[in-house]
Amino acid sequence: MGDRKRRIELGLLYSRSGGYSLISEASRAGALAAMAAVNGDPALDLSFVPVERDPGGNADAYGTHCDDILRNSSARHVIGCVTSWSRKEVIPVLERHGGTLWYPLPYEGFEASDHVVYTHACPNQHLLPLLDWAMPAHGRRAYLTGSNYIWGWEMNRLAREYVTAAGGEILGERYLPLGSRDIGRMVEEIRHARPDFVLNNLVGTSTYEFLEAMHRLAEDDPAFAASRCPILSCNLTEAEFPALKYAADGLIAAGPYFRGAAGWPGSDGFASSHEAAAFAAVRELARMLNGRPGAEDLPLGTLLRQSPAGVIDAATHHTCLPVLIARVEGGAFRTVKALPAVAGDPYLTRPRPALAAPDLRVVS
C-alpha cells in the first residue's frame, strides 16, 4: 500500500533561527507530525514530501524563499510563516503562482486572502474574549505593548477601541522593533501608570526580556503581582516556556488549545496550540486531496468548492475554534475560562455571541 501512495510535495517555510524560532519550531513540529501521520495512514492515498526553506527570521527573505518553492518544486501548498509581516510578504508570490499558504498562527485579522488558509485564532477568537474576561475581573485601565509591525499595531488599536468603548482607559502604549531588548522605558511607564492589566503584543526576544523585567518588578512591588496586575497575551503558548522559565508564572493567555485540553481533533497530545494548528492544517489538506489525483495543483478556491465541507469556512478561509483563557501555574497553563468554539470573523462583521451581563462594579 505504502508505495501506491501519491507523493505530493509540500512547502515548509519556517525560520529555524532568529528571535521567534521557538514559535517556528513548535509550528514546524506540528506540520511534520501531521505529515508523518498522513504518510503512515493506509486510509489515505497520498504521502507528503517536505520541500523546506529557512528564511532565518528575516521578513524580507520570505517572499524569495516562497517563490523558490513554488518555482523549483511541484509544491503548490506551503505551510508556515510566523509573523503577519512575513505572511504579507508571501501573498503576492502566492498570487503570481496560484499557490496556497496554510498559516497556522494567531494573527490580528482584517485579511481573507483567496490564497491563504488561517487555522489559528483571529481577534474574535482571542483578543475580544480575553478583554471580556479581563475587564470585569481586573479593571478597565490598560497598558499596551507591542512589536513594531502590523500585529502589535492592529491588536493594540482593537484593544484601545474595545477598552475605551467599555468605559475603560489606556494609560500608555509603547512599541519596540522586532528583536529589540530595550524594554526599560515601557517597564518604567508601567511602574508609574499602575494599570489594572497589561496587554502584551511583543514577539519573541522582546517579550522574553519584557516578561523577565516585569517579573522582577512584581517581586519589588506587590502591586504588580500577577494576581493584581496580570499580563495578557494572545500569542503566548507552552512553546516559549523554555525562554521564560520562572517569569512565565501568572501570565494569562487566550488560545484555541493549551497542552492537555480536550476537544482538539486529530490527536490528544500536542505540546502547544502552535503544534495543534499546524497539525490540523496539514491533516485538512490531506483530507481534501485524498482520492483525487491532480487536486494538489488546484487553486485554493477551486479546491474548497470541489471538496466536501471541512473545517475551513469557504467565504473567509478561517476555521471554527474553541476559546480558552488560561493562566500559567507551575509551568503549565490552567484554564480559567472556556468558551464554546466560535467561527473566525476576520473583519469583525459577524454578530458576536452576547456578552454576559455588564459588570457594574465601580472601578476607581
Binding site: I91, E95, F110, E111, A112, S113, D114, H115, L158, E161, Y162, A165, G301, A315, T316, H317, D345, P346, Y347, L348, T349, R350, P351
Partner: protein, 205 residues
Amino acid sequence: MKRHALRIQNLGGAKAVILHRPHPVVQALERQLLAIGLEVRQAWPDLGPEALGADFVFFDADMGHDEQFPWPAGASPMPMIALIGSEAPGRIEWALRAGAHAQLLKPVGDNGAYSALLIARDAFDVQRSLSVEIADLRRRLDERQTVVRAVTVLAARAGKDDAAAYDQLRQMAMAWRISFEEAAARVVARGTDRQDDGDDRRNRR
C-alpha cells in the same frame, strides 16, 4: 470629522451593488466582499431603482455612462467606488463627475476592496457633512440683510446704538431659543407690524 470605530463600521450585512457586465472582475470583487461580510448583487446595464437601498455601489468606469444611475451625476445617496481599467484621462474625469469616492484598479485580485470601502465611506461622510455645513453657512449669508434690518428696527425703537441693538437681538435669540437669523426675521416681521400700529395711532391722534 468623527471616524467610524471598530464595531460601528456596519459592514456586516451591508449591501453592495456591482454595476459591471458579467466578468471575472465581478467574481473577484464579490469574493472579497463576501469574505468581509457584505451582501452582494451584480447589475448591468443599469443600476435599477433597487440600488437606492444599497450601502455601496461599485461601478465600471470603462464602459459607464450617466444614464445607468437613478440619480443625477455626483449626487449618489451612498458611497461609490469606481472600477478603473483603462486609466485614460477622459474616463477618470467621467468617473469623478459620476461621483467616485474611491477607486479600485482592474483586474481586481486578492485584495483592495476593504480599503476602498472604508476610504469611500469616509470621503462620502466628509462630503455630506461639508454640504450640510455649506448650506447652513449659505443660508446665514443670505440672511445678513435681515439681520441688518432687525438691528436698525431695534435701534430706532429704543434709541440705542447699533452695537447695543445687536446685543439685544442676540439676547432675544437666546431667550426664544432660536437662531440669531431666525430672531432677526421675527423682529423684522414684528417691527413692520408695530410700525404700522404706530402709524395708525399717530394718525388717530
